[in-house]
Symmetry: C2
């Protein structure tokens, strides 16, 4: 089969700008592509490395209903952005994974989470602990970034992302419906918090922390007490520990 | 000042074999080097990139008592293994960070954790939640691997590592003193466990899980219940969530 666009275009989906304009993103690795196809997320094409078929029976069956395009090693390696590619790259539409207004009673919000592995890791943990929506500030890395997608281990396809142009303004507006709990140092023990009442839990870049504006909006501050020897937990771990406690 | 060995030798510390033979390892980044110097861990040299001094007052003061060697850009970049080097690489002795017998009442053990970021992340979380010792199986990545050291954010210098040649045999021997709790699917809810009695909590590679031999030794299985949509949590997150609950 053929694809509606040329390889150069698909390669340009490594850029956030092209992803935003086209509403498409790349998902690499058999596990992630499988989760994408199973989720029903519209898939424009799956690039398969020559020789991949026949190694994973279940994947072969799934791929048989997708628009697969077999690529030679050279072309595949060019499109891949992993060091040891598994042989599958899917092109999916992001539209159905995006939302405008939160619908759930309790959700995490991320401020300034710039590392794609951290963001993808949080998507994966959120999915595990039953959070289906994520509010992302404008300074967060794109959840459809290749590394973020891979780190999510397919959870990206089970999450609804609300990407804000101005997170602080959005949080201010959401205060009419939600209680804002900000994760930071010197707050109340996180184990005192529950999923009720309707709450947004804000997690921030661990080096820079929440902004003054976000702290000013906070109804409460939640802290994970530690031994006091390390300076901080990673934001991916802090978010997971709090989400686990709320689950 | 000068260093006792040539740059080529220090570069070879990127290999586990050379680290094991020499008892030295590289720690890159100002935060990690600072933590190393503060910890009192013997430091053979600190390589400083030309132009680094004068940017962090506190670091400059710390460095003034270390054996610093200024390197030109080209040499520094060769020794560095990060994409955006911060300008500091310390050479530390690992001997004081290694132990033979566990001394604490409750400690994590890692089986087959091959990803250095996961291992370093667990070291960081363990430090935060007050676990000072870690038992590492032979198939784990070296805790003194460059990426593991960086991901630990300096916690490597506050941890005592017990590296086993045969983890399963070691765990069998430790059963006389410790209760073995293995993290896996389909066990008891992790929140039912406490730090007492003396326990070892075993965390395994998330894709392959614990070995049959380790499961056979288990006194109990601990599970982090999830929404059932994702297949697993990352081992770094699973370990952090359980350690948080035990803290």
């Amino acid at each position: 089969m053929s694809t509606p666009k040329d390889l150069k275009f698909y390669d340009s989906l490594k850029l956030r700008k092209t992803r935003a304009e086209s509403g498409l993103f790349l998902a690499e690795g058999w596990r992630v592509v499988e989760d994408g196809l199973r989720s029903g997320c519209p898939c424009e094409a799956v690039f398969v490395r020559e020789g991949f078929f026949g190694r994973h029976e279940e994947t072969d069956a799934l791929l048989s209903v997708a628009n697969t395009v077999i690529l030679g090693d050279k072309d595949f390696m060019k499109l891949s952005d992993t060091e040891a590619p598994q042989g599958l790259i899917g092109v999916f539409q992001s539209g159905g994974l995006l939302g405008h207004e939160p619908e759930s009673g309790c959700l995490p919000a991320l401020f300034d989470v710039a590392d794609p592995r951290n963001l993808g890791g949080i998507v994966r943990s959120a999915d595990w602990f039953g959070f289906t929506e994520l509010l992302l500030g404008e300074s967060c890395v794109d959840p459809f970034n290749g590394k973020a997608v891979r780190s999510s281990m397919g959870a990206v396809f089970r999450t609804r992302f609300i990407i804000c142009e101005y997170l602080e303004e959005r949080l201010a507006a959401l205060k009419s419906r939600y209680r804002l709990v900000v994760a930071d140092l010197d707050g109340r023990d996180y184990r005192e918090f529950s999923r009720d009442p309707d709450s947004i839990f804000v997690f921030s870049n661990e080096a820079r922390g929440p902004s003054e504006a976000i702290l000013a909006l906070a109804d409460d501050i939640a802290t994970i007490p530690g031994s006091g020897r390390g300076e901080s937990l990673s934001v991916a771990v802090a978010a997971a520990v709090m989400m686990a406690s709320l689950a």
